[in-house]
């Protein structure tokens, strides 16, 4: 392996490659519950050219290659399950182009959510991108590729739907451009071409290394507000989603349910975030949203919560910094969640079953949901905190997650950014024709089987 190290050092420079125990330890794990798997090397490329050379090297040497963004999926997707090279892409973080009129930005895939947010705020304050609730270290490329969602997902869908185009290094080393950029100097979209972006979306780095992405931008309206609709009846929540989403004036609709603080227990809270260019427009939108839920308010089955300013400020923050604090609930630096992508009518069943699982596994929980598009589906999350220093507690969370993944599938949903064991659960239920197609695509793109092996393993 010394020759691989030397070649990697020649490609990226000795300062940006490591085979030392310290890097091998840290890059063997993420903050979730999955068992560590050590890489042989960690490499930090700075350009597509360097990525290409690394991919060609990995091909020649038949060494596994695992692309990594922020490393914050929590489900262990950037752990090198079969060793090899972890490719930390965060040095590839240049913001290459903002097209104000056509509202898109082209970035290197390792650009962090935070840096793009800051860049737009400073240089293009009338525009914003959809910020996920992951910490600002999460990368634009990584989040798009796992079908992430965020603060504009009600308005515009999954982050993968906001993808205009990408550049990728194929597992065999060729560099390809996908979308309008394959023909035109503009990265305006994926239509009207055959949509090859699907070869990379949701594949967890098993089909290549995405090095650039162009994503859609949206108006950054100066006036913002949030309303929190509360009901005690989980059966009503799909109707709340349906009505509030149907108005199509909100940017983001999320739900949250937690046993703590005490005042929140037993209630379903639906946050409806909206924004406007003027105070008058904001009031108009507020009135439309309230009118959409008037029937439920009149029936006294729900109503809007008066929000103290600190709570409102927290709910308007993107990303919400307080969400990470869930990791300290057990005083142990850990939580992981199952994000079930499912139809909104499954909300009550998912909610009840999630609480039952937490009780059965002896752990606490937090659940919630984000509406995707105008109510076309939701990402329902079941989050379980754990104490990293207490292996029994970690195991409790692990069991709860495993059971929850099964539950999501049983309900008719699909676990999002699934851990390797959950991927096997998904593949076990997949239509055989689809399974076969996945297998053929993978074999065609990656004949050596070097890309993030152990994930989406059909065979």
């Amino acid at each position: 392996m010394e020759d691989v190290y030397q070649e990697l050092a020649r490609i990226v420079g000795p300062a940006y490659v490591s085979n030392q125990p310290e890097e091998r330890f840290i890059y063997s794990r993420d903050p979730g519950t999955m068992e560590p798997r050590e890489p042989d090397f960690v490499v930090l490329p700075a350009t597509t050219d360097e990525v290409q050379k690394i991919v060609l090297l990995a091909n020649r040497k038949k060494v596994p290659l695992v692309p990594m963004g922020g490393g914050l999926v929590l489900s262990g997707l950037s752990r090198p399950l079969k060793g090899g090279i972890v490719l930390d892409l965060k040095r590839m973080n240049r913001i290459l182009e903002v097209n104000e009129k056509s509202r898109y930005v082209l970035v290197e895939a390792g650009t962090s959510q935070g840096m793009l947010q800051a860049y737009l705020q400073k240089n293009h304050p009338t525009l914003k991108h959809s910020v996920p609730d992951s910490p600002p270290m999460a990368t634009i490329g990584g989040n798009v590729l796992i079908h992430g969602s965020g603060h504009l997902s009600h308005a515009a869908g999954f982050h993968s739907e906001m993808l205009n185009g990408l550049e990728a290094v194929l597992p065999t080393g060729e560099v390809v451009k996908i979308g309008s950029c394959s023909i035109s100097p503009y990265w305006f979209g994926r239509a009207p071409l055959p949509d090859l972006a699907g070869l990379f979306l949701g594949w967890f780095g098993t089909t290549g290394v995405v090095t650039k992405v162009a994503i859609k931008l949206y108006p950054n309206r100066p006036w913002q507000d949030v309303g929190v609709f509360v009901t005690e009846d989980p059966e009503l929540v799909p109707e709340v989603f349906y009505q509030a989403a149907g108005v199509q004036v909100a940017e983001d609709i999320t739900a949250w349910m937690a046993p703590k603080p005490d005042w929140a227990r037993g209630f379903q809270h639906v946050n409806i975030n909206y924004a406007a260019d003027t105070p008058e427009e904001l009031i108009w939108k507020r009135n439309l949203i309230r009118a959409s839920l008037k029937k439920l308010i009149d029936q006294k089955t729900g109503g809007f919560l008066p929000l103290p300013p600190p709570m409102k400020k927290n709910f308007l923050e993107a990303p919400q910094t307080t969400l990470a604090q869930f990791a300290d609930v057990r005083k142990g630096g850990g939580f992981e969640y199952v994000g079930g992508i499912m139809p909104i009518e499954l909300f009550p069943n998912a909610y009840r079953a999630g609480i039952e699982i937490a009780a059965r596994q002896g752990t606490t929980y937090s659940t919630g949901a984000r509406i995707i598009g105008p109510g076309h589906c939701m990402m329902f999350f079941f989050a379980y905190p754990f104490n990293r220093a207490d292996e029994a507690d970690v195991e409790r969370a692990r069991r709860a997650l495993e059971e929850t993944n099964g539950l999501v599938l049983d309900l008719g949903g699909i676990p999002w950014k699934a851990e390797a064991p959950a991927q096997r659960q998904i593949l076990g239920r997949m239509d055989p024709g689809t399974l076969n197609l996945m297998d053929r695509i993978r074999a065609m793109l990656d004949p050596q089987g070097i890309m993030n092996p152990g994930n989406w393993e059909v065979r």
């Binding site: 300062a15 940006y16 490591s18 030392q20 125990p21 310290e22 890097e23 330890f25 840290i26 890059y27 993420d30 903050p31 960690v42 930090l44 922020g70 490393g71 914050l72 930390d88 965060k90 040095r91 962090s112 959510q113 935070g114 840096m115 947010q117 800051a118 860049y119 705020q121 400073k122 910490p135 600002p136 270290m137 910094t321 307080t322 990470a324 604090q325 990791a327 300290d328 005083k331 142990g332 630096g333 850990g334 939580f335 104490n387 990293r388 220093a389």
Partner: protein
């Protein structure tokens, strides 16, 4: 190890790598090395693994630990209020552990050795400490209201000496009554403390306290924010045997008088908050008040200021050990690029370490034609400066 009980509580969410506006990485060692291991969260997890014997002691681990600039950005930005205040304490406790085991990087060992043997990191005889004041006709301390403390860098580093001379000339012009210890001055010990050498720090602290007691010192003006920090927070506090001021606080309090000294029509200046004055001690206004006393001076702020300031890379002993120096990604070079990006022609500093670090970085970055590093008293005195 002290504070070991917080290590597993870090989630490695990474908020600690950023300033509050997320514009760039704000952890100096992560910004330079870019491996997760060099981030605060990486250190937390590695230290836990080290204590659990999952990883062994190694030169790499020592470099990871000692390349922390102790700038405090992680403490400022961590989203876990129940243990964030102890993050740096945990890093310092681990350094102490490594010092005790004799497994520190060679540059750290050399620094501590020089301090032990010579009383300063420059391996110079004690008599050299008074040379910075040659020709200034400064009074030896003999009961004046203030003792002026130049510190190791202010006494023995060429850039530091220039800064010390400028500051005392201004203090004299202002009529501030002060004296100096000259060759009798002793290192404040802040860098020894931040490098985990508690024994040496305690010894220096006792020597200083003894000297101050004997001389009846009641008020100290520190040139260096590092000394200011140590005197204020790591010397006895309840009761404090003496009051300590950073020199910019003395200048800031006399801003009105300073305003008659010189003018700087249209001079665009950006100010770099030193970590040990700003983030560690929350003093953001006094240096700005002092700068704004100059008629016509235009203060333009960088994106990362005050609690979000980006360290020059010279904190936590790195000024001497240089574990963060070298290359375009060094924190100092990143900082001068940011400063030049404001359009300012002067980068104002209030710390001798920052002055040296950033001045060298301007040269390395080839920005001499665009921006000049100047210490605050140098700017205030303008052409009058001696």
């Amino acid at each position: 190890m002290e504070f070991a009980d917080i290590l597993h509580r870090c989630f490695r969410c990474g908020y600690c790598k950023f300033p509050d506006n997320y514009q760039d990485f704000n952890c100096p060692s992560y910004s330079k090395f870019r491996f997760e291991t060099y981030s605060p969260g990486g250190r937390m997890w590695l230290l836990r693994a080290w204590l659990n014997q999952e990883i062994k002691t190694s030169p790499r681990l020592a470099e990871i630990l000692f390349s922390c600039a102790t700038c405090g950005n992680c403490v400022e930005r961590c989203v876990f209020p129940k243990f964030k205040d102890d993050i740096l304490h945990a890093f310092l406790a681990a350094r102490e552990e490594m010092v005790n085991q004799g497994i520190v990087p060679p540059a750290v060992r050399d620094y501590l050795k020089a301090l032990q043997v010579h009383g300063n990191p420059y391996k110079l005889p004690g008599g050299e400490r008074e040379k910075w004041s040659t020709g200034l006709d400064l009074e030896p301390y003999a009961g004046q209201e203030y003792l002026f403390h130049a510190g190791c860098v202010g006494s023995l580093d060429e850039r530091g000496m220039k800064m010390a001379r400028s500051v005392v000339v201004l203090l004299k012009w202002l009529g501030v009554p002060f004296g100096v210890l000259g060759a009798g001055e002793i290192c404040d010990g802040n860098e020894a403390r931040s490098l985990g050498e508690k024994g040496v720090f305690q010894s220096l602290r006792e020597q200083n306290l003894q000297a101050f007691r004997t001389l009846g010192v009641k008020k100290v003006i520190a040139l260096s924010p590092h000394a200011y920090h140590a005197f204020k927070n790591d010397y006895p506090r309840d009761p404090a045997p003496f009051e300590v001021f950073h020199y910019t606080q003395v200048l800031g309090a006399r801003a009105k008088k300073l305003s008659g000294l010189s003018s700087a029509n249209g001079l665009r200046v950006t100010y770099h908050d030193p970590c040990y004055l700003g983030r560690h001690n929350q003093e953001y206004q006094a240096p700005r008040r002092a700068l704004k006393s100059v008629p016509g001076l235009q203060l333009v702020e960088m994106g990362r200021v005050k609690g979000n300031s980006f360290c020059c890379g010279g904190g936590g002993g790195n000024f001497f050990t240089d574990l963060l120096g070298g290359g375009p990604e060094s924190p100092a070079r990143a900082r001068v690029r940011e400063a030049a990006g404001t359009g300012a022609s002067v980068l104002a500093v209030a710390c001798p370490n920052c002055a040296r670090m950033l001045e060298d970085a301007v040269k390395a970055q080839d920005l001499q034609g665009e921006i000049t590093v100047k210490e605050i008293s140098e700017i205030i005195q303008g052409p009058m400066q001696t």
